[in-house]
Amino acid sequence: MAILDLANPTRFLNYSGRLLPWIAVASVLVLAIGFWLAFQAPADYQQGETVKIMYIHVPFAWLAMFAYTLMAASSLGILVWRHPLADVAHKAAAPIGATFAALCLVTGALWGRPMWGTYWVWDARLTSMLVLLLLYLGVMALRAAIDDPSRSGRAAAVLTLVGVINIPIVKFSVDWWNTLHQPASVFRMGGSTIDGSLLWPLLTCALGFSLLFATLHLIAMRTEILRRRVEVLEARAAAEAMG
């Protein structure tokens, strides 16, 4: 099977239907292991047990950024190849990514209250995640505002790509503006600064949430494809009824 065969929506439905139960089960298992590891992991020497929030907060942040990257790649698929499946992937990823971004902000606020003494600070990382959430909501609002699905897909793709160009600039400017959040500690030059006893549960949780994202995304894509087919059938039935 070539990867390009998947570009056919019927084949995609076929293969994703067979794949979906496995990914769903894997995500439940890996998340269960990850949470178990997280509760076995030692408490942080400064932060105590509140560091447990990290095991969901950090994966949410990563996946919020990953979902936007996926949407940007799909946007290229929409604009360059005008591919219907890319449009479906783009549309399905937006609400999931927005939810992860919102959850990242909420869990961060709950973590910030005991650690920083406040739910919210106007710090660079918090602010750029908030801007990312706003971009998600903008893309979704633009899609909702336009009825014709193919035109709304291309419009949302243009906006997504503008956002991709803009995100590094926003990131850079808010860093310049104000910084309190700790800098990147897992993926950095010279290795991770997190101890292995905390890092492995974190990576397991991240894998589990990634599988969860894949599950939700596949379900949303399948639903969207079927919804479009139903719409076509309804339109055809209505046209026939008109005579």
């Binding site: 604009l79 801007v131 706003l134 971009l135 909501l137 903008g138 609002a141 633009l142 505002a145 336009i146 014709d148 193919s150 035109r151 291309r154 419009a155 793709a157 243009v158 906006l159 790509l161 503008v162 956002g163 160009i165 803009n166 600039i169 926003v170 850079f172 400017s173 808010v174 310049w176 503006w177």
Partner: protein
């Protein structure tokens, strides 16, 4: 090509200046925002002097955004956009010409009005000069980023709230560097030139990004 560009520029300028309320209304809106703020935060002149540059910038940002709605709408409705698409000028340059005309008609008056409004907010001369300089550089950036939202709104016939939701996240860097340039002109510690040069860079960047993305949005609407 230059002649076509100038022709669109002249036409749009004549339309927005001649239709009445184009340039003036934006300045009046700007004045309204500046008037409302002291009622909200209290008439403390020391406080107003401190937050004045930020208030001026928020007012200018909102005033730049509200005018954008009609930028493409009329041309889409009466079909002149189809005409412009068929002309020898690339759609990107059409968008750029319209953006430039829009800035001359609505953005430049805001810059000219700013010193008077700054006096009402008790700004000292150095701060006034800094605000005017950042507005002169920053409002074109906002207008050209706003072109993207205006193209969506015009092509898909959707209203002003959508423009604000789409454009405000994109305009955050401009706001950050404009306001930090004005504060550093008054209190330091960084010299005025450092954030101001970044602001210049952002303005040049959006001068390119805005028309290209706006043209892409117009083409997307065409299908």
């Amino acid at each position: 090509m230059t002649r076509a560009f100038l022709a669109i520029l002249r036409r749009d300028l004549a339309l927005s200046l001649g239709s009445g309320g184009g340039a003036g209304l934006g300045v009046v809106f700007f004045l309204c925002v500046i008037t409302v703020v002291p009622f909200a935060v209290g008439p403390d002149l020391a406080l107003l002097a401190r937050i004045g540059p930020a208030i001026l910038w928020i007012g200018a940002l909102l005033a730049s955004l509200i005018g954008l709605e009609r930028l493409f709408t009329a041309d889409v409705e009466d079909g002149s956009l189809d005409n412009l698409t068929l002309s020898a000028l690339p759609l990107e340059l059409v968008a750029a010409a319209k953006g430039l005309a829009h800035w001359l008609a609505t953005g430049l008056p805001l810059v000219i009005a700013a010193p008077v409004l700054a006096l009402m907010l008790n700004l000292e001369p150095a701060a006034i000069a800094a605000v005017v300089a950042t507005l002169l550089v920053g409002t074109p950036a906002v207008t050209f980023l706003g072109l993207i939202g205006a193209a969506f709104a015009g092509a898909f016939r959707r209203g002003g709230l959508l423009i604000a939701v789409l454009v405000i996240p994109l305009a955050i860097p401009v706001l950050i560097f404009a306001v930090s340039a004005t504060t550093s002109a008054v209190t330091g510690p960084v010299p005025f030139g450092t954030p101001f040069r970044v602001l210049l860079g952002l303005a040049l960047f959006s001068l390119v990004l805005g028309p290209v993305a706006a043209a892409a949005a117009l083409r997307a609407a065409r299908g």
